[in-house]
Symmetry: D2
Subunit: 138 residues, 4 copies
């Protein structure tokens, strides 16, 4: 399994009248986390788009266990399990930085899509290669 940790400072605009992070913003945090995880693996999302591959979200789920508060520094862990084929599933855990207790968990499934035809397509060989390499280094 490949793992990556991304840090996010909770912003005022992300907090609601209960004084906690509004539930919808966790999907934003997941986007930031997977973007930086892919970049670190050598696979910036922008480069994939430039090669004509887009990665729309096809399903997701989130479980909210404990709230996060304004100005908290969050640690969002992304796990990739295995090598992607047409789809890639990412699992997430959100913690307050330095704490063991998990605040939120979730997953997001993306699909490799050929932007020209708008049809699902297998992950290109260079993407497979990056995941194979990351897995062996893990």
């Amino acid at each position: 399994m490949i793992s990556h940790v991304y840090h996010h400072r909770v912003r005022y605009r992300e907090c609601d009248p209960m004084g906690v992070v509004y539930h919808g913003h966790y999907l934003d945090f997941f986007e930031y986390a997977r973007t930086e995880a892919l970049r670190e693996m050598g696979l910036p999302y922008k480069a994939m788009e430039d090669r004509g591959i887009i990665l729309p979200v096809i399903d997701l789920a989130v479980q909210y266990k404990r709230p996060a508060f304004y100005d908290d520094l969050l640690a969002i862990t992304t796990h990739f399990d295995g090598v992607p084929r047409v789809r890639i599933r990412l699992d997430y855990e959100v913690r307050r930085n330095g704490e063991d207790r998990v605040l939120t968990t979730g997953h997001v499934t993306l699909c490799f899509v050929d932007a020209a035809t708008n049809r699902p397509t297998p992950a290109p060989p260079e993407v497979i290669a990056v995941f194979e390499k990351a897995r062996t280094q893990d």
Copy 2:
């Protein structure tokens, strides 16, 4: 089963470089839909907050089947199944208005929480009564 349909016009700010609604905004649409469904049942969320009950989201899931585009008029159907106890689950279907084909499905589970103690609490009798009445009228 109790059902309610809410209409939402897709805004420019909700669309991404793929030209489609960014996946995170469906959670916003679900919030709008359940707020108006509850209001129509005679249970405005604001009135619940004023009585010291808050309803945080404890889990959710979304399945994205087909994209929605800028300026689409969407019809978001909310289904409530049964009478809530400590939790209430709402199921959603998103269609382009006037079409049968479902673009997106999902569910959100909310928990009744006493704002004073911050602990889960059974749905108050007046809430139960509203759901009982809505179910028999259905």
Copy 3:
């Protein structure tokens, strides 16, 4: 002067820990208001984009006088002054529906841009015609 009123219900996701609408969301309300104002004049923004004209924002300002609260029904008035040339300026007033007191004022300037060349361009004749007509009907 051409005027149009758009109604917006304040959503939970738009409110911050002060319990009021977060200042950034007024720009969203302005977008909703001008989109519906243009549609009512017979000039849906989507039709302009389909003809190769885009309308990026080039400047804006907002003055916040009094807060808006969760679940408020807002009335956002858009004023267009005169017939657009390369730019169009829209002025806004936000009130609680049914009240005279203004909560927020602002303006947004848009520029007609040819999407093919990405250069400013005069408003096309059919746009001018719509504004001329709206002004005489006013």
Copy 4:
């Protein structure tokens, strides 16, 4: 004059169908920039809120000169001019990191408000002291 630079990576959710940052998100960037500027000066916004001082935005303006694109790394410079009294004005410049050319400029004015009375209040002495110190160090 006191200056501070904050870096922000443009996210997919922030970009619109024109492929550029949606204009409203610059207000978010300004919030992130001033929060970190104040933190670095020894004045975290959260600590002010804990002492009963809130800082609502009372006016703002933005001038959009050139677009920012997906995955751009932006450098947002915040300038504070002088020592705040009841109000504090912050001026912003947004550049692509490492470039001289300014993409966007703007300002935001905040007002010191006593959260208990909800009335404007002079900046507390410890806030004045922090600004005095920052100015002399500049």
